[in-house]
């Protein structure tokens, strides 16, 4: 999204234009969802809730966005990140994953209506497994930076804004994370 388009979206949201909500959703929902799924270790249902809540919060608080300090993308992911962290803390307080969060491969097969869906589900599970592997080898901060970099292609500066780090620190974190990820993913493929 160009700067011009982003500014127009912010203006539309501030003016409570109904079409701006659709634009916002189309622009950010998928990215936020991916980010949330990755951070919540495949909790798809929770990730969807976070998408809805994040979109709602953006609409509600759009007037708090200071374009001089932060881009819209960084601000949206900042909101998403805060909600994800809240959810993670909530999950940590639980003794086990709630039933609605437990999705087995069998259940996917049972509810699937064809091989195409099954193959997609398998591919997704494989991807989630790899993400889980990454989570194991990367620190919290490295994983966070990698997700934000991969999902939204946020710049180091924007990631720093979201995570509360300096641009140089983000560069360093990203370098370490990518090195570790490369090694792990290559090793895993072998």
């Amino acid at each position: 999204m160009t700067e011009h388009a982003e500014a127009a979206l912010v203006r539309g949201l501030a003016a409570r234009a109904p079409e701006a909500c659709a634009t916002l959703y189309d622009r950010f929902a998928r990215g936020v969802h991916r980010y949330a799924v990755a951070r919540l270790r495949g909790e798809v249902g929770l990730a969807e809730e976070i998408v809805v809540e994040t979109m709602a919060e953006v609409v509600r608080d759009i007037r708090r966005l200071d374009p001089g300090r932060s881009s819209l993308s960084a601000w949206v992911y900042g909101i998403a990140r805060r909600r994800v962290l809240l959810e993670i803390r909530r999950q940590q307080r639980r003794k086990s994953v709630p039933p609605w969060g437990q999705v087995t491969l069998e259940s996917v097969r049972e509810t699937s209506d064809g091989p195409s869906l099954e193959s997609r589900a398998l591919s997704r599970l494989e991807a989630q497994r790899q993400v889980a592997l990454l989570t194991e080898i990367l620190s919290e901060v490295e994983m966070e930076a990698l997700m934000l970099s991969g999902v939204e292609e946020l710049s180091a500066r924007e990631i720093g804004r979201v995570m509360g780090r300096s641009e140089r620190a983000v560069h360093s974190i990203l370098h370490r994370a990518r090195t570790k990820a490369r090694e792990r993913l290559v090793g895993d493929d072998e």
């Binding site: 409570r16 109904p18 909500c21 916002l24 990755a38 979109m55 509600r60 989630q128 991969g150």
Partner: protein
């Protein structure tokens, strides 16, 4: 690096399933709802700004209105007037050292100096200073000088009153009841002299009366339509045994259309001057209405009417029929004129009394208990034939005699209307309205502040969260606000309408009346009605408490705004009424009878005579 980033993106993309339409629909619904909840269209902003302005204006104006000197003065004077009406029946004007007049003693020596310093050209203050002055000679001089320089009749009246206080002492006829059965003049005269208190001197000393008569003469010149100076002159001439001249003055007085004693003008002036000198206690101020320094010519008119009836009887017994008729008819006419020109209830009753005295030889009103508790149409009373009815009828004819009877019945009916009016209205209702309205304005302000505080508390939660949880149309908001205000309005109406409530001696007692109960009810309803409504208006999934907050946020501003408008309107109206009241009170326009006459209209001016209002027989007992 770019490849690795793409790989990560691709990995994340594969790990997350596509978002379904159901998620998008949910998100869109939330966003749309929030936009509506958070939206502040210009009109709404304008309405909010207007609401805030009205609230601030109401707060400021009510505080200002309650504290301005005019309001405090009106309240004090109203309370004093009401208090004086209570004490007036107990205390008669006379001795300035009487207990009720004592609060004025410290002020008397200073009044003239005070007025000369602060109000040297204010006629009202000069009149009061002349009447209240402790130094009688200085007071008389002030009144006479002002009367001569301005020609104002009230100054001549006040001057005559001060001269009269100086002497000579004159008889008080009091409650003399002539026995109509007494057969000859000597016995009638003996009874009259016996009943007079104190016993009249055989003849008033001419030298001492001369200055009073001279002053009365000047008063007549300054007040050509007023019968009162002629009544006074008749009174003194009668004391000088110049009976023919006295009768001439009495007949002349009966032709004057007005009977003005200046009692209310003087009492208001005295009261205002004492208030300005710092006497602000209503009870003490009330004594300014009842003490000796007010021209009390009413008593002289009543005494003179009794003298006239007595003289008529004497003339009848002496065979001077035309003189008898002249004394009686002049008294009747004077009584009617007094009624007609009266601005106060006391003046009206004085007129009825004089008319009744004059007509007593021909027609007599008496209580009639023979036919049971509701035995008479005029409050258990009827007109009966007077002892000299036949004599009177022989002189004036039956038609005129019956006209007189009907006029007397009408006067009685007006008294009954007055009594009925006082039962349904507080006797001081017109006087107390500014005070009542002021109390209502303050009460509305208190309600406004209480509701605003609750609203402030509710606003500490995030607006969008609460607003999103409920749906409440503008009509529903107005309906809830109106329902919540019903108890306060009901309490206010009861407070306004029911007599006696506002006369509570302590202001705080106002809140323990119907008004306080109404305010409490409104506070409870303003909080509980939105909770009740939340059961139906909350959105699916929203907690009841959050929906309640949302409803409170929407209903309370409307309620506060309505309270502000009410407080503002009441304060403005109270201020206008106070100003009007002060103007009427200090000028001569205040008319106690006007609301009664306006209330009854034709029923007052032309009352329909009850068919059995009189009996063609002598009174029972």
């Amino acid at each position: 690096m770019t490849n690795e980033r793409k790989e990560i993106a691709e990995l994340l993309s594969r790990a997350a399933p596509e978002l379904g339409e159901e998620v998008k629909a949910r998100a869109m619904e939330r966003m749309t709802r929030l936009q509506a909840a958070v939206a502040r269209p210009r009109l709404q902003k304008l309405a909010t700004a207007l609401g805030v302005a009205v609230v601030l204006l109401a707060v400021g104006f009510t505080a200002y209105s309650a504290n301005d000197p005019e309001a405090r003065m009106a309240d004090t004077l109203v309370a004093a007037a009401a208090q004086s009406q209570r004490t007036a029946v107990e205390s008669l004007p006379g001795d300035e050292n009487a207990p009720y007049a004592r609060p004025l003693l410290p002020y008397r020596p200073r009044v003239i100096a005070f007025v000369r310093e602060h109000y040297p050209k204010d006629l009202q203050m000069l009149l009061a200073a002349g009447l209240l002055a402790g130094d009688r000679a200085a007071g008389e001089a002030l009144l006479k000088d002002t009367a001569e320089s301005t020609g104002k009749p009230e100054f001549w009246a006040a001057y005559v009153w001060r001269l009269r206080l100086r002497g000579p002492q004159y008889m008080r006829v009091g409650q003399i009841i002539l026995d109509p059965e007494l057969p000859d003049r000597e016995q009638v005269v003996a009874q009259f002299r016996r009943d007079c208190q104190p016993m009249p001197p055989d003849r008033l000393p001419s030298a001492e009366v001369a200055p009073v008569l001279a002053a009365i003469s000047r008063w007549q010149q300054a007040d050509p339509k007023n019968a009162m100076p002629l009544v006074l002159e008749m009174h003194y001439l009668y004391g000088l045994h110049r009976d023919r001249e006295a009768l001439a003055r009495w007949r002349e007085a009966a032709k004057r259309p007005e009977v003005e004693t200046y009692y209310d003008v003087a009492s208001k002036a005295n009261c205002l001057l004492l208030y300005r000198m710092g006497l602000s206690d209503p009870d003490a101020l009330a004594s300014a209405y009842t003490q000796a320094d007010i021209p009390n010519f009413r008593a002289i008119l009543r005494d003179s009417a009794r003298i006239a009836v007595y003289e008529g009887r004497v003339a009848q017994l002496a065979g001077r029929s035309q003189d008898a008729l002249a004394w009686w008819n002049a008294t009747i006419a004077l009584g009617r004129n007094t009624q007609r020109s009266a601005r106060t209830l006391q003046g009206f009753f004085l007129g009825v009394s004089a008319e009744g005295l004059g007509a007593a030889p021909a027609w007599k009103w008496a209580r009639d208990f023979r036919t049971g508790p509701s035995g008479g149409p005029l409050s258990r009373g009827r007109m009966f034939l007077g002892k000299q009815h036949a004599y009177y009828r022989s002189l004036v004819g039956e038609e005129d005699s019956n006209k007189l009877r009907d006029a007397l019945v009408r006067s009685k009916m007006r008294i009954m209307l007055l009594a009925e009016y006082e039962r349904t209205h507080s006797p001081f209702d017109p006087l107390l309205r500014p005070r009542t309205l002021g109390a209502l304005a303050i009460a509305a302000m208190n309600l406004l502040c209480a509701l605003a505080l609750i609203y402030l508390g509710v606003s500490l939660w995030r607006r969008a969260v609460a607003d999103e949880a409920t749906r409440l149309s503008l009509g529903a908001r107005l309906l809830l606000a109106a329902l919540a205000l019903i108890p306060a309005v009901g309490g206010g109406i009861a407070f306004w309408r029911l007599p006696g409530v506002v006369q509570q001696p302590q202001a705080v007692m106002v809140y323990f009346s119907y008004l306080g109960a109404g305010l409490l009810g409104t506070l409870l309803l303003a909080v509980l009605l939105p909770l009740l409504a939340a059961r139906w208006t909350r959105r699916p999934g929203a907690p009841l408490i959050t929906a309640w907050r949302g409803n409170l946020r929407r209903v309370l501003p409307v309620t506060v705004l309505l309270c502000a408008v009410a407080a503002l309107a009441l304060a403005i109206t109270a201020k206008q009424m106070r100003r009007h009241w002060i103007e009427g009170w200090t000028s001569r326009d205040l008319n106690e009878l006007a609301p009664v006459v306006a209330h009854y209209g034709d029923k007052w001016t032309h009352p329909i005579l009850p068919p059995d209002a009189w009996r063609a027989e002598t009174p029972p007992g």
